[in-house]
Symmetry: C2
Subunit: 340 residues, 2 copies
């Protein structure tokens, strides 16, 4: 076996907003025979996620930083080209944390087979993957919304936000989404039946807009963005409200430590809980979450939306576009040539 | 019955740090006979607490603001002069949210009798009162310290801080106290056996001082003060750490919305919980807390310390002195004439 592959490596650590020249496309040739338990895979869907921005910095975080001149890695759906692992055959779909490479040879322990009878392959990057689990555990285990309460979601038209909103509606909550465009507002209303939408780019005072949309105050705030949007929501929180810290995309590209109004006095006087989390904190409960999410998808109670960019070579651009809100729902890149 | 009383009213709402001219001492004459269920009380110990600063502002909070030209009220230990309530007799000690007045006539439902066999009367403003319960529930129900973990307490020589530190030691934790003077450091070490003390007025970098005192990082931060001290502690928090928001005394006198580094990115990447609370959130569990605290006091496992200022007329000054850290342990004012 001799295969030519293309892969994206991190050339320079971004300062502020990432640019395409931070990445470099390299070609490589892999040759030799597969060893026992190894798989030859071809990438099909590549996930781009805001959290990956953190890994592009040199600083230690809850996941190790990407190394310079090494391939970026992330959630990837791939197909098996050749297998030396029993139980996996050519054509099977697998999921794993894999390099941004057109093809790869990996140990079978680094992937798991996915069942394309339950959902389509790309769902395993979205509603049936980390995205769906993040929404599920963040909202239900931390936010603990009660029927009749008001739930506000920022980044509401994004991958996690659209699922959070749908689960909260299912639980009987009033759901308000904060987004950055009129089209996104329309999407939330028409497709997901949100009770209210707020465009944070509006010229009106955000604190006031939220107050109008949430006359009974905010009980649960599912925060994907941080910054001034969150400042305005926090002003409207109710006594014993819950703030689910899922993302802070507005701050990921900050060059300096971002400053803002201190929030502790509000959290104190209103007995508010704020909890940061990553989905892996709930690993032991993944089977429960996946079972629920799969059921809801099958019953049509949750609809997953995707922004799929075609062409492996567009991976850096798709990633960069996350930060200007170009996506609705789950953003991913699909390889052009997906035949085996 | 005709009695002349003195009482402190709120004359002007403080702007920034309160000053004595915000308060006014008024005399009043009460006459007439006690009605059924009424009590004539004489104040003995008057609690001064940082949270009262919030009630001096006009803004609505979790407790209503004090009205102008009306008496300040707070936790008071009083003795019964005359009783029209069965079960309460002259000389009994009672506790209640009562006016800053030398004597008062109240309905008996607004006080409860205290048992001076379990602890001394003043303990019911401290370790056997809201102070002790605040430390107990905040630390154990929110902070949930595990033996071997590192607990940092700010305002560590204060009323709540000294009790938090002692309970955390009892639970097998390493306890570090942050204070504002060398005498307070000595107190924590000699009297309460703290494992480490940090003087925030030191010229050394606070983040670094905390790092040195907590080589394994901070698992639980019991925050009484807020502001830059808390910024420095938060820099040192461990993954899945817990921040108990009990007080923000450094910010209570702010004239503008205080600004600081945004903390959500740290809370997010480290899966940290931050929870604001007031002790009344745990009302249903008060009997449990009081039973535990009483047992520990009797067994000598918790020692309560007090700063008692003599003379009713010193109430405003004692309250103001809270904000410059003049107290160790529970600060209160004792009436000069406590004979009945």
């Amino acid at each position: 076996m001799t295969i030519k592959i293309k892969q994206f490596v991190l050339l320079k650590r971004p300062v502020g907003v990432p640019v395409e020249s931070n990445f470099s496309l390299k070609t490589e040739t892999i040759s030799g025979d597969l060893k026992e338990n190894e798989l030859h895979l071809r990438g099909i869907y590549y996930s781009v996620d805001p959290y990956m921005r953190g890994r592009m910095n040199g600083a230690k975080s809850y996941v190790a930083p990407f190394a310079l001149n090494e391939p970026i890695s992330g959630a990837v759906i791939a197909r098996v080209v050749e297998s030396k692992k029993s139980g996996l055959i050519t054509g099977d779909f697998v999921f794993g944390q894999l390099p941004w490479a057109t093809e790869m040879v990996v140990d079978s322990s680094s992937v798991r087979k996915i069942d394309v009878q339950i959902g389509k392959a790309s769902d395993y990057l979205g509603v049936l993957g980390m995205t769906g689990l993040t929404a599920y555990f963040g909202l239900l285990k931390i936010g603990q919304p009660i029927s009749g309460e008001t739930v506000v979601v920022s980044g509401a038209a994004g991958a996690v936000g659209t699922i959070v909103g749908q689960i909260a509606k299912m639980k009987g909550c009033k759901v308000i989404g904060i987004v950055g465009s009129g089209e996104k507002e329309k999407l939330l209303k028409d497709r997901f039946n949100f009770d209210g939408m707020i465009n944070y780019k509006s010229k009106d005072d955000l604190v006031h807009l939220i107050k109008n949309a949430c006359p009974n105050g905010v009980d649960v705030y599912f925060d994907n963005v941080g910054g001034e949007i969150s400042d305005a929501v926090i002003q409207n929180m109710n006594f014993q409200g819950r703030i689910v810290l899922c993302g802070q995309i507005s701050l990921y590209n900050s060059k300096e430590i971002p400053m803002g109004p201190r929030i502790q006095p509000i959290l104190l006087t209103k007995s508010i809980l704020m909890q940061g989390f990553i989905v892996s904190n709930f690993t032991e409960q993944f089977p429960e979450g996946l079972a629920e999410l799969s059921k809801w998808v099958k019953e049509g109670k949750i609809e997953a939306i995707e922004t799929i960019i075609e062409g492996f070579e567009n991976l850096p651009k798709a990633f960069i576009d996350l930060f200007s809100g170009k996506n609705v729902g789950k953003m991913m890149v699909m390889a052009k040539d997906i035949a085996l």
